[in-house]
Structure formats: C-alpha cells, structure tokens
C-alpha cells in the first residue's frame, strides 16, 4: 500500500443530548492511501457522515487523532485546518449545499473568494479561467450565470462537484453524493468521481447504497460506530 494521505486513529465522537451522552463512533481507525477510492458503507445512523466530517476536519473528535499528510490535524491551530479545507480538501454533500444567492460560477469560485482579498480579486484571472474550465468539463458551460434554484438536481450536484474540484484538492470527501438523485444521474456522478480518481485524486465517499460502493477500490463497512472486521 502506498503512503497514506489520511489516517484516522481510534476516533471517538460523543454527542450530548442534554445530560445524556450518545457515542456515535467507538474508536474507529483507518488509513486512506494517496490516489485511493475508498467507500465507507453503512446503514443510516451508523456514524458514517460523522466519520467523514472528522476526517474532513469539519468537526473535532472527542478522542483520537486525524493525521492529514503526516500532520496531527487537531494538534495544529484552527487556521491550519481552515487552510487545509480551503486548499487541500474538497467536499460534496448529499444536499449540494450551494449558496442560493450566488450564481453557479460564483459558487464555483467560492474557495478562491475565501482566500483572495478584494484588492487582488481583479487580478485573479487564473481562478476564473479554471472555474470556467471545470464547469465546462462537467457540462455546465451554459449554466454559469444561473442561480442554483434554476438548476436540476443533477446539475446542482455537478455544480457542487465543480466547487469541490476547482482548487485541485488532494482529497475529495463525498457524503452520499447520489443520495438525492435518481439512479441515472447518480450513476453519472459516480462515473465522474471514478474518472477523477483515475487521474490521481483521492476520493473518500460514504453511502448506504451497495451499487455505488462497487465503483470504489476498497469498501469499509460501518455499523453502530464501529468498522466491521474483515471489511
């Protein structure tokens, strides 16, 4: 196995419901190799989205470590994690989560907008060119000025994918990327993910759909916050 880009070490995550503690993850450990297409399969409520959020540095584990490119992510500062999410990580969500007030092009440019000050924005032509190219590759060239509400579900997910890819991330996290799509559109999205993976992008996806999992190099099964042995 090649060098891991991401490693989860004994991750524990608790949620508090008033005074009651709810343990969602029970010491999950896994390694993701660079260029791998990993799928975490599990039923609803098994903790797969929580695991994805922890590995994507969106949430802090109660116990355990997330090692990203050799660095203990939660031993670093918050700014470092923000920078990693902005430059090295891409997210695709089940419900697209596009900004409703921004056009497709603006949504795609959002990671660049977050790291570029106003004074430098007029000169950020490279980012604009790259965004237009990614949108074109995903078949959205005619939709760049449309608002998300004017797009179909598949188009929205492709726009979300464009936003996740525009800054050329090293890892792409996809949380049920086809969960809100019909089967044909879902299959198309998965084909895109597989194509990107073939170009070298590390993809980590979670799903409860076994047909989707077949696209991955490796499938891990999660149940009740634990990875099943031998998966």
């Amino acid at each position: 196995m090649s060098e891991p880009i991401l490693e989860a070490r004994a991750l524990v995550k608790d949620y508090w419901m008033g005074a009651a503690r709810l343990r969602v993850l029970h010491g999950v450990s896994l390694r993701v190799a660079r260029g791998e297409f990993l799928c975490i399969l599990g039923p609803s409520g098994s903790g797969k989205s929580t695991l994805l959020h922890l590995m994507g540095l969106l949430d802090r584990p109660t116990e355990g470590q997330v090692v990203f490119e050799g660095q203990d992510a939660f031993a670093q500062g918050k700014r470092w994690r923000d920078r990693m999410r902005n430059e090295a990580i891409g997210f695709v969500f089940q419900f697209y989560h596009l900004m409703p007030d921004l056009s497709v092009l603006e949504n795609t440019l959002l990671p660049a907008m977050i790291r570029t000050p106003l004074v430098r924005w007029p000169f950020a032509t490279g980012e604009r060119r790259r965004a237009a190219q990614v949108l074109g590759d995903l078949g959205l060239a005619q939709r760049v000025r449309h608002l998300p509400k004017e797009l179909s579900g598949g188009e929205r997910q492709r726009a979300a994918l464009a936003r996740a890819l525009v800054h050329e991330p090293r890892v792409l996290f996809a949380d049920e990327p086809t969960g809100n799509l019909d089967s044909a559109t879902g299959a198309e999205i998965m084909r895109v993910l597989a194509r990107l993976n073939r170009k070298g992008l590390t993809v980590v996806t979670v799903t409860h759909d076994e047909r989707i999992a077949k696209q991955a190099h490796r499938v891990l099964q999660l149940a009740d916050g634990r990875l099943l042995q031998g998966s």
């Binding site: 994507g56 969106l58 949430d59 700014r79 923000d82 921004l102 570029t116 000050p117 106003l118």
Partner: protein, 607 residues
C-alpha cells in the same frame, strides 16, 4: 451656515479624524476576502429581502435627520444669541460697579499691554429713569427705567457690532443680511466713507437743530444738547403690522419632487429584482429602463420647477418708535459721590439730576434686555450724570474722574478666560502703583460669564434634546441586533458552507458586521441628505408651510429673530454619522457572534 472655517482647530481635528477612519475602513475593505463583500451586498440588496435593510435603515435616517436638524437650529439660536449679546457688550468686562474706577486711562494702558488684548475702553453705567413724550399728543408720556451707558463712540464701535445695530447711521444701499454678516472693521470703513465717522456717532447733526426748532423747544443759538442713542424697545411701542416679505414660490414643490425622486431611485432596486423575476432574462431590461427614465424625468421636473420670489403679507409685531430723530429725551439720574454716598439736596433729599438729550439714532441688537433698557450717551456726559466726573471737593484734595466699567476686546475669544487672569495680575500692579485708590472691588469676567443665565438655558435645552434624540438610537440598535441575529439564523447553512470551504470563524462573523454597517451607512446617508436639504431650504419651507397649512412655525415676535437661525456644525454631523455607524456595527455583533460560533456540521447535516 457653515461658519466652522476649515482652519478652525475643531474642524481640522474632525477632518483629520474622519480621514483616518476612512483610510482605516478602506484598508479593512481592501484586505478583506472578496466573499464577504459579495455576500454582504447580496444579502442586503438581492430580491425582495432588500426591503429589510431599507426599512431598518429608516429609524437611523430619522434619528440622524432630527439630530442634525434640531441641533443646527438650536445651535443657531445659541450662536445668534451669543452674537447679539456679545455685540452689545465686550469680550471681557472689568466692573467697578457704582463706586467707579479712578485713573481708568492708566488702567487701560496697562491692560492694552497684555498680549492678546486688541482694544479697551472706559464705560459709564448708571441707572436712570427716562421720560418719553410721544409725538402723537393722544398718547400719554411714557416713563421707564433705563440704563445709561456712557461710551467713547469710536472705541465702542471697534469693540463689537454696536455700529451695525444702529438704524439711522448706516451704509446706504447695504441690505440687512449684508449688514449682519460683514466684519466690523469693514463695516466701519464703509460707514466712514458714507459720512458717518465712528467718533461722531453720538454727535448731533446740525440739520436737526435747523429743521426742527419747534420740536426740540430749543431757542436759536442755544448750544446743542448731548446726543443719545436709545434702544428701539425703550422708545418704541409694540404694534402688530402687516409686513411684506419675499418668499421663494415653488420651493416646496421642488423639495417634494426631490423626495419623490429619491424614493423612486431607491425603489429602482425592487423594480430591477421584480422585473428579473417576472419578465425573464430579456424583458427585465425594458422595465428597468422605463423606471430609470421615470426617475430621470422626476429629477428633470425637480430641476425645472421654477422658483421665483413672491411678496407676501405677514402679521408681525414690531416696535414703532414714539420719538423721531432730533426729539428730546428727558433722563433723570441720582449721582453718587466718590465716597459712595448719594448726592443730596439741602434738607437731605437725594439730588435728582435731570438732563435733556437729543435722540440722534436708535439701535436694535436683537438682545431684548439691551434694546429695551439701554441709552447710549457720550462718556463725559454720562460721567456728569452719574457724578463720576473729576471734581474738587472743598477742603480735600481733587477727586479723579471715574469709570464704572472697562470693556476689553481680545484677538481670540477662546483666550478670554486666560486674559481675565492676566487682567487680575494687572489689577494688583495697578493698585500697588496707585495706593491712593485703596482696596477697590473689581469684578473681572468674560461676557459669557456675565450672561451665563441666558446662554445656559438655551444650551441646556439643546443638550437635553440631543440626549433624548440620542436615546432613540438605542431602539435602532436593538432593531439592528434583532435583524442581524435573524439574518445569521436564516443563513446558518451559508455559514456552514463557508466554514466547510475554509472561511475563518471571525471572517464569517464579520460578514454580518458589514451587514449592520451598511444599514447604518444607508440610514446616515439618507438622514444627513434630508437634514441638509431641509436646512438649506428652511426659510422657503417655513413660508410654504405657513401658506399651505396656515401654521405659524416660527413667530418672529416671540423669538426676536428675522429668520429661523441655523448653524450646521461639521464636527457634529461627523459625530452623529460616526455614532450611528458604530452603533449599527456593534449591534450587528449579535448576528456576527451567532455566525462565528456556529459549528458547520450542525447546519450541513440535513437539508
């Protein structure tokens, strides 16, 4: 109106502060990530939700409007009252009361040696009774208490605006507005050129004697009586008259159309959004173009409405003089001896000195107390009336002439307080050099201290109004806090997305601070523009309200001003604007904190 000169220290400080704040704001805006600007403007002005910031900016606009307008009018009252009061007095008054100050010329020479003192003159001040025998025989003679003010006319004219308050001896062709605003030095120059040298302001013109012998009752060859200048309120009788005033017709309509243009301009935003929604991607341009044309047409109409002067009749109460120039004024005084005792007749009754004076002019300063009690006479004549002329009493050494006050003019009125302290030092040196004067009581005050009661009332009223209107901003602050909190709550998912894409907590929070700041900016801009427009058109608007609604907004006889006084203070405008901006930004921290503390996974987990 904008009397704060650009070179005044307050203005320089205010401008420097504003420039620094603006430079700081510009730097913050330029180095902030671009997503904040784009999203902030989209949240504010995209679609129908743009109504929210516009509506929430209205209380701020109203508050700014009222604070600037009310403060400008009340500040105008204070300033004009100061000008009127100061014009009749002097910057510093050295008061020796009725005992009088001997060797006053020596004292004045010492005072003139103080750095910052421009001029000084002795003044006699004594109580008297004046008898006015009206020219109309049906009216009974009027007897009133008064204050005789003995002056050296040329020196008094240089002390303040005394010459500008005179009604007869004026520069021919100069209108009231120019007379009120010209500098004293320039006015005296023009007055001299017009044949009225300041030293002769109290002189009795020869034509008075020649043309009105019957009225003065003076026999041919009789020496002229001393001249006097009584206040118009003293020798006049209040009488309601129809006064013709010039009003600017059309101004009200122009202001209304301007307001409509502003409203149409703001609603353009909604038309734009609504037409994009309803007419599709092609048709909306036509709708917007039509609206822009409507706004331009309104603006053109506002500019084309003719504004022309019309003459209108208004009922005003004015003082009608009961005497004419050259008429006699009988003044009775009780002289006071240098020892402080009243002069007495044989038999022990106080001696009443009566003097006939010739009215050579009248004055109207606008300062009611002076206009209704003061009679200006020549310094030496007043000395005789008050018993303060130099005299040799039998058996004792000669008694020097005395002055009851010394009026001092300073170059910089702001330094008057410091110069008072130096005059106190001069007083000590003077008393040491003149031991024969004894321990005389001298009150040395600025005119402001002497007239504290009048000014304090207006100033307290102004400050209270500003405080009460300022409290209105608290309501505005709460409104902004609620709106920004609700907005941050509604936009929770956007907050989560931004954080998932790498935006910092503080950065996302400051997005909502910018939201509040722009609402404050909008309110400040609307309120300030409205207030300045209103102040600019105050007089025509007052006439328009008077004509249209029959409401006398500003009764002249009550306020004793010819027009509604106003003074726009640039530092005050900046302070009000800055306070609103700071308040709206701080209040929007409610939303900013909610956004900054929100965990992204809380909002991204579900649809």
């Amino acid at each position: 109106m904008w009397s704060d000169g650009l070179t005044s220290p307050a203005m320089t400080t205010a401008l420097a502060g504003a420039a620094l704040v603006l430079a700081g704001l510009a730097a913050v805006v330029l180095v902030a990530p671009v997503y904040k600007h784009i999203l902030c403007l989209r949240y504010l002005f995209a679609g129908w939700k743009a109504v929210v910031p516009l509506v929430s900016a209205l209380p701020a606009a109203l508050g700014v409007f009222l604070l600037i307008l009310v403060f400008a009018i009340m500040d105008g009252f204070v300033r004009e009252t100061r000008e009127m009061t100061r014009g009749t007095l002097a910057d510093i008054i050295v008061d020796a009361h009725m005992e009088g100050l001997p060797y006053y010329d020596d004292f004045i020479q010492r005072v003139l040696g103080i750095e910052g003192v421009e001029a000084a003159t002795p003044v006699i001040q004594t109580y008297a009774i004046v008898r006015v025998k009206p020219r109309v025989s049906a009216i009974k003679p009027i007897v009133r208490p008064c204050m005789i003010i003995g002056i050296r006319p040329a020196q008094k004219a240089e002390m303040g605006r005394f010459a500008q308050f005179l009604l007869r001896q004026t520069v021919p062709g100069m209108n009231a507005d120019e007379k009120a605003h010209i500098s004293t030095a320039r006015y005296l120059e023009r007055l001299r050129a017009a044949g009225y040298p300041p030293e002769a302001l109290l002189g009795v013109p020869s034509d008075f004697r020649a043309s009105t012998p019957a009225r003065t009752g003076r026999r041919p060859g009789e020496p002229p009586r001393p001249g006097c200048i009584p206040g118009l309120g003293l020798i006049g009788m209040p009488f309601p008259v129809q006064v013709t005033k010039t009003a600017q017709e059309g101004t009200g309509a122009r202001v209304l159309v301007c307001i409509m243009t502003g409203v149409a301009g703001v609603t353009l935003l909604f038309v734009w959004q609504a037409s994009r929604r309803h007419y599709g991607r092609r048709g909306w341009r036509r709708a917007v173009l039509a609206w822009v044309l409507a706004v331009v047409a309104l603006l053109a109409e506002a500019l084309l409405i003719p504004v022309y002067p019309v003459r209108e009749q208004r009922l005003e109460v004015i003082d009608v003089p009961l005497l004419d120039y050259g008429d006699d004024l009988l003044v009775s005084t009780i002289p006071v001896r240098p020892s402080g005792a009243l002069e007495k007749e044989i038999g022990g009754m106080p001696k009443v000195s009566e003097k006939l004076l010739a009215v050579v002019d009248t004055f109207k300063s606008g300062y009611w107390e002076a206009d209704s009690t003061h009679v200006y006479v020549d310094f030496q004549a007043a000395q005789q009336m008050a018993g303060m002329e130099g005299q040799a009493e039998s058996g004792v050494r000669p008694v020097p002439a005395r002055a009851s006050q010394v009026h001092v003019k300073v170059r910089d009125p702001a330094q008057a307080g410091a110069i008072v302290q130096r005059i106190m030092d001069v007083r000590r040196q003077f008393l040491a050099a003149r031991p024969e004067v004894g321990l005389i009581q001298l009150s040395i005050n600025t005119w402001e201290t002497q007239q504290r009661m009048i000014l304090t009332v207006v100033e307290v009223e102004r400050n209270m109004t500003a405080l009460m209107l300022g409290l209105m901003f608290l309501g505005f602050g709460v409104l902004i806090a609620l709106i920004s909190y609700v907005m941050a709550y509604i936009k929770s998912r956007d907050v989560g997305i931004l954080k998932a894409l790498g935006a910092h907590d503080a950065g996302v929070g400051s997005l909502f601070l910018g939201y509040g700041f722009i609402i404050g900016l909008l309110g400040t801009a609307m309120g300030m523009a409205g207030a300045l427009l209103m102040i600019h058109y105050l007089d025509p608007l007052e006439v328009w309200v008077n004509q249209t609604l029959s409401i006398d907004v500003f009764p002249r006889e009550m306020y004793y001003f010819e027009h509604i006084p106003r003074h726009v203070s640039v530092p005050w405008c900046m302070a009000v604007g800055g306070a609103v901006l700071a308040l709206s930004t701080l209040a929007s921290m409610a939303g900013g904190l909610l956004a900054a503390l929100r965990q992204p996974v809380e909002t991204l987990r579900y649809e």
